[in-house]
Symmetry: C2
Subunit: 352 residues, 2 copies
DNA sequence: ATTTAGCACTCTTCGTCATCGAGTGCCAAA
DNA sequence: TTTGGCACTCGATGACGAAGAGTGCTAAAT
């Protein structure tokens, strides 16, 4: 976008002011808060042109200007100067993330908590996408007659399990036999290539009657498939109610309604991350969606800032923030990035 | 409470009207909607007395009356006539509860979902309290060097597990040895009697060096203790925003803030259920807390209706609704009770 | 060709004020 | 004990005007 320097300055000032005051900003206020060397009349002219370009708009004739989605986009893409987290804030976040951690899920939990509290917005995290990983172990453990625990271990050390029902009179040995056979035949197989068919054929030459076997195999199949599902952590929904952006009850209701719609947000984030899969990713790359760019009802006044964390070399998931589009982007971005970095470090420490 | 018949009628009429209209009800409105055989002036006198008894109150001098907490209490305890769920509603709820269930947690999930949607309020469920149950199996499963899965099986067939870190060079056999020793010594021991000490002494005469052993034992201990923690399902928070009772943003914020405070609601429900443990319970007993009876900030205008579901003979948990105290109690009670009944049936089917 | 001062105009916000109406309490009569 | 009547209270509603912030436009200045 070919904006001359002064226009850039003006747009930047408008966004900055609007974000911090939540009031439409007029030419006079602009002069007062920033040291422009020109008069308010000149700024008015500039603002009129920015409006013609679709970067700012006015709520009504006699109000100041507010950034449009396009204006925020321009700001984010080329105007904003990166923020540096204070030492104290870094320490606080670190502390919260590393507090009483036993598993990766604890880390994700802590990270979303910290992120939501620090930003004051909603934060979300998604468990790693497992479709690319493969099976390394499959154990079945007899719990009691008729009941067994299927433990699925995937590459990168991810463990998932599930209690399943099995025919009552199967013995411990038979169960072990089955799971050993399955494991031997399916070792190293990508999760998405495991089907009921491959599973069944892996235990063909067993002396256990086929109908029984089928029941066990089906349950194991469900357990394996279930390992693939995405877990989502959403945190801090109530914080949105404190924002002036959602002081209208109707907006707040729509927003929380959509957020609480199970899988809706996760599905969307998954979508946009997948669509960006090919892109080159620098070390601290993040993804931003602003306002109408988000195709979810009730989130028209929100922005997404998401980034990717890694588990080992092959697995990755997302973590990020959903806030009002009127947010301090540089600050939130640096927070998200710091959390991502810390999260990656801690995951590495935990699994290595 | 020694109320004469007419006072009872009046109080009942006031609660009914207020619940359905959300408007303070005056003497005239009362005459119009109900066939009282007396004049509005007489009702005014009655209402003045009910107010003196603390059962109703007026928001301001010239408004109608609304029930006080005490009034709701009286209504719930002796005035309300039970509601019967329509066949359709029963079917709908049943269908939702039994939809794609693999485990008890699925049932709880479905049940809270159904309850929240049907009532339009928040619903909650808590996993069963396990403090009384005992250990029946403890298995450790090698995942990879340095990493094992501890599987804890409790009476009533509850399975909990957790990935733990162990010293790198421990072999599969050694792990098996340890877990066998623990299991043998601790079989049948109530969960709350298992301490680090009892755990350690159960593997005293092993040839594995003590410091190593201690590490493993500690991890196992954490895994066992973690099995005891309560899971909570809260569902439908956003629905509260649609209620006129929370059209004030401040109230809504306080409410959702408290609800999202992890463990706060669960702790409270646990508390009140424990305090009622001695009481005789009829088959469809429920517990009601109204307004100020609830000692949680932001829930002054809410009521709890909770009940107990059972898993087997020994385990029980709670499920219920958090709604505005201005609710149709008889309807919600019957919904909660139906869900409880259905839930119990399905749990029985699932685990037997 | 830009920039600026000035001015008329627009539109929201806020406080005031009067009115309306639902509801009450109380008194005196039935 | 019940009822009709009446004065009174108080919130809700809407009209009205003043204040204030901001705009666009024009004409003069640089």
């Amino acid at each position: 976008m070919g904006l001359d320097d002064r226009k850039k300055q003006v747009l930047q000032a408008i966004v900055d002011d609007y974000v911090s005051t939540y009031e439409p900003v007029g030419s006079k206020a602009l002069i007062e808060r920033h040291n422009f060397t020109v008069s308010s009349a000149t700024l008015r002219n500039e603002m009129a042109e920015l409006e013609k370009l679709g970067l700012i708009e006015k709520p009504h004739t006699s109000a100041g200007r507010i950034p449009s989605d396009k204006g925020y986009r321009e700001y984010v893409d080329s105007l904003m100067h990166p923020d540096i987290l204070s030492r104290e804030e870094q320490d606080e976040i670190s502390e919260r993330i590393t507090d009483s951690v036993h598993e990766v899920t604890d880390l994700l939990h802590n990270a979303t908590n910290a992120l939501s509290e620090k930003t004051g917005f909603v934060s979300l995290a998604m468990s790693p996408r497992l479709h690319g990983s493969f099976l390394t172990q499959l154990k079945m453990l007899m719990i009691e007659p008729g009941k067994a625990l299927v433990v699925v271990v995937l590459s990168a050390g991810v463990v998932k399990d599930k209690v399943v029902r099995i025919p009552n009179f199967l013995t411990n040995e038979q169960i072990m036999q089955i799971s050993n056979a399955v494991e031997k035949n399916l070792y190293g197989k990508p999760l998405d290539e495991i089907t009921l068919i491959t599973l069944a054929s892996s235990v063909k030459e067993s002396e256990i009657p086929e109908t029984l076997m089928n029941q066990v195999i089906y349950e194991a199949y469900v357990a394996i498939k279930q390992a693939d599902k995405l877990d989502v952590y959403l945190e801090g929904e109530h914080r949105m109610l404190s924002l002036p952006d959602f002081s209208e009850l109707g907006r707040a209701r729509d927003l929380l309604g959509t957020l609480s719609h199970d899988g809706m947000v996760a599905g969307y984030v998954n979508e946009i991350e997948k669509s960006a899969e090919g892109q080159i990713r620098s070390d601290d790359s993040y993804m931003i969606r602003i306002g109408q760019e988000i195709a979810l009802e009730g989130l028209e006044d929100c922005s997404f800032i998401t980034t990717t964390y890694n588990i080992g070399d092959t697995l990755s998931g997302n973590i990020g923030v959903i806030g009002p589009k009127r947010m301090d982007y540089s600050k939130v971005i640096s927070q998200v990035n710091f959390v991502r970095k810390k999260l990656n470090d801690e995951i590495r420490r935990l699994i290595e």
